[in-house]
């Protein structure tokens, strides 16, 4: 069974950046709002280029936006991203 999880801090970063909306972030990185919602909710793991674009939108490193976890998740993290859409 695959225990790899990718959590993210997108929601927190959006609010730290002037309460940026999901639509604004989507327009900035060139995806649909639905994709941002899915990534934020941990339902979709973005590709590496998209992860870099999201990190760049927040002037942050990829590691500070996305956290790779193998096994147990910390309780304060966002739900894990699955590999499916």
């Amino acid at each position: 069974m695959n225990n790899d999880h990718i959590s993210n801090q997108i929601r927190r970063l959006r609010f730290d950046h002037g309460e940026m909306t999901q639509q604004q972030l989507a327009d900035t990185v060139g995806v649909t709002r639905q994709t941002i919602i899915a990534i934020e909710a941990g339902k979709y793991a973005p590709s590496l280029p998209l992860a870099f674009r999201i990190a760049r939108a927040f002037n942050a490193s990829v590691e500070s936006v996305f956290q790779y976890q193998n096994g147990e998740m910390p309780s304060d993290a966002v739900k894990p991203a699955s590999q499916g859409p």
Binding site: T21, Q22, Q23, A26, D27, G30, V31, T32, R33, Q34, T35, I37, A38, A41, K43, Y44, P46, S47, L50, S82, G84, P85
Partner: protein, 147 residues
Amino acid sequence: MNRTQKCAWFTLGISSLLILFLAFVLRSMFVPGDRMAGVGLVMSWLWLILLFMVGSLFLVFYRQSQAEPAADERDRLIKRNAVLASFIGVWILLAMETVLPRRLAGDAGSIPVAALPIINTAILFTAMLVYSVAVLVQYGRGVENEQ
């Protein structure tokens, strides 16, 4: 709801209607005394084809919001999975089409020649239906409407 989802809902509706219609036609071919009137059959076909064409034209000329891309990487992944699901569905249905008539009619049995294109058309629309359902299920999974 984006363009892919709207297309999927449209395809789901049309393909369901057409499969129902084809099932009705097949039933009229195999059940004695249950034949549809010739004019009624043709008119039903024409209405369904007209509906399909009008809907397709709407989807071709429908413009999505300029702010969003038509499809991003997640949309492409969803479509790819849906195509795979419908492809598998076609193979399963073709296998059933090969085996079931022999099982039902026996080795010496026969079915009307006209039934074959109808069955194949039904398989085609079933593949479209599977594609639509796969798209909608994948979009429905994990997308909450939040801001």
